[in-house]
């Protein structure tokens, strides 16, 4: 999943190196409009809905955190 997410985000947001930082949000590398793109792309690919409460810096600060967030959202969807 990590490789696929990197592929998607690399295509949609080529100016951001998602593997280079563990503080993408805190350091301002991932800005608000980039997060809109990220949500749109990953929602479509994985058929998940981002709850507003999941959109925290902690959940988006690194590629590993993003992967975990998607997995968590998939679990929530399965349980619905």
């Amino acid at each position: 999943m990590k490789e696929r997410i990197l592929e998607i985000l690399g295509s949609a947001l080529p100016h951001i190196d998602f593997e280079a930082s563990d503080s993408l949000v805190d350091d301002g590398l991932l800005d608000s409009l980039s997060i809109v793109t990220l949500i749109s792309e990953l929602s479509m690919e994985y058929d998940v809905i981002f709850d507003l409460n999941e959109l925290t810096p902690e959940n988006l600060n690194s590629i590993d955190a993003i992967v975990k967030t998607i997995q968590k959202l998939q679990e929530i969807r399965k349980g619905m």
């Binding site: 608000s32 997060i35 507003l52 409460n53 959109l55 925290t56 810096p57």
Partner: protein
């Protein structure tokens, strides 16, 4: 909550108070627009945002280390009814270089700190704010419709008319009366009957926003049918280049009643020397607007019905709105849309 701690660790996020006003005005001057009326006119700033108890209707973010203001999310109340208070967002800005989604965090706090029933967006930037609201807040977004009715002339200086619309007004049985004060209005019409409407506009709002506006002069009217006031609407005459236009800026109550005063608008156009009457709205039943002789400006319309007058811009302007509630009614004067710049 974990999501609060990241922002709270870096910023002090709170409702502003009177002591913050100078700092906020400086922030608007630096980050919004140099010389903006809300950066230069303290009395007008206080008219817009300050409550009688001294609180200021703006959520601010202060960087804890730098001690600098980094963001703001203002709001304007549609009522002072604590149970049914809807707000419109106004003056939403985060200085570049801050944590992503700080702006969204300010909106979330605004909903909590204001105690509002609904937080409504009007005049949002379609390239920045609207995608955030749609994707992250999952609000519905749309453009307000602009309706207009032209004077019986072929010479237009403010508008540009390429194709004259063919709408014909229906002569209904509505009678328009003037309200010169909120007391006069209250005697004839109970605004509280609209508590379930979104937004709910109470007597405090109508008095503050229209009867007591610091700069603009508004006319408040009622539509009487069979001796009963069925609706209240507000107009403002706009002067530009030696000519006038009449703007319908607010509407409360029965939409059916609007369709009963087509003749009135025709008389107004003859008597007031206005080129046209316009009405930006969304959520209003178009049937009644057409019945009163109004036409909707279409997408890519060759006709131009301007919206900006200070300075005057001869262009069609789209006003974007966002809401999380289906039946929200939007009007031109909602939020800070009918405001001097």
């Amino acid at each position: 909550m974990a999501n609060l701690s990241a922002y709270d660790a870096r910023y002090e996020i709170r409702l502003a108070c009177e002591d913050d006003i100078e700092m906020i005005m400086n922030f608007i001057d630096a980050e919004w627009k140099k010389g903006h009326i809300l950066a230069t006119n303290r009395a007008f700033f206080e008219y817009e945002f300050k409550e009688e108890d001294g609180s200021v209707n703006i959520v601010i973010a202060i960087d804890r280390d730098k001690k600098t203001m980094e963001g703001m999310a203002g709001f304007l109340k549609a009522s002072h009814d604590p149970e049914n208070m809807d707000i419109w967002g106004a003056m939403w800005k985060v200085r570049p270089g801050n944590m992503a989604l700080l702006g969204i965090e300010l909106i979330k706090r605004r909903e909590v700190y204001s105690g509002c029933r609904h937080d409504i967006g009007i005049g949002d930037n379609p390239n920045t704010a609207v995608p955030l609201f749609k994707t992250i807040m999952r609000r519905q977004a749309g453009k307000m419709n602009q309706y207009y009715r032209l004077a019986d002339t072929d010479f237009f200086e403010i508008a540009k008319i390429v194709n004259r619309p063919l709408e014909t007004a229906f002569c209904g049985n509505g009678k328009v009366i003037d309200f010169l004060s909120i007391d006069e209005l209250n005697r004839r019409y109970d605004l509280s009957q609209n508590k379930n409407c979104i937004p709910y506009k109470d007597a405090w709002y109508i008095e503050h926003r229209f009867f007591n506006h610091m700069i603009y002069s508004y006319n408040v009217h009622g539509i009487e049918i069979d001796g009963i006031i069925e609706a209240v609407f507000v107009t403002r005459r706009q002067y530009v280049n030696g000519k006038y236009v009449l703007r319908i800026v607010d509407y409360i109550g029965s939409q059916f009643a609007f369709g009963e005063i087509g003749e009135f608008w025709g008389e107004v156009l003859k008597a007031s020397d206005c080129e046209y009457i316009d009405f930006y709205t969304l959520g209003f039943d178009e049937e009644y607007l057409k019945k009163a002789g109004f036409t909707r400006r279409k997408e890519d319309d060759e006709n131009i019905i301007p919206n900006y007058f200070s300075p005057f811009v001869k262009e069609n302007i789209d006003i974007w709105v966002t809401t999380s509630v289906h039946n929200t009614l939007f009007c031109k004067a909602d939020g800070d849309q009918d405001r001097p710049n």
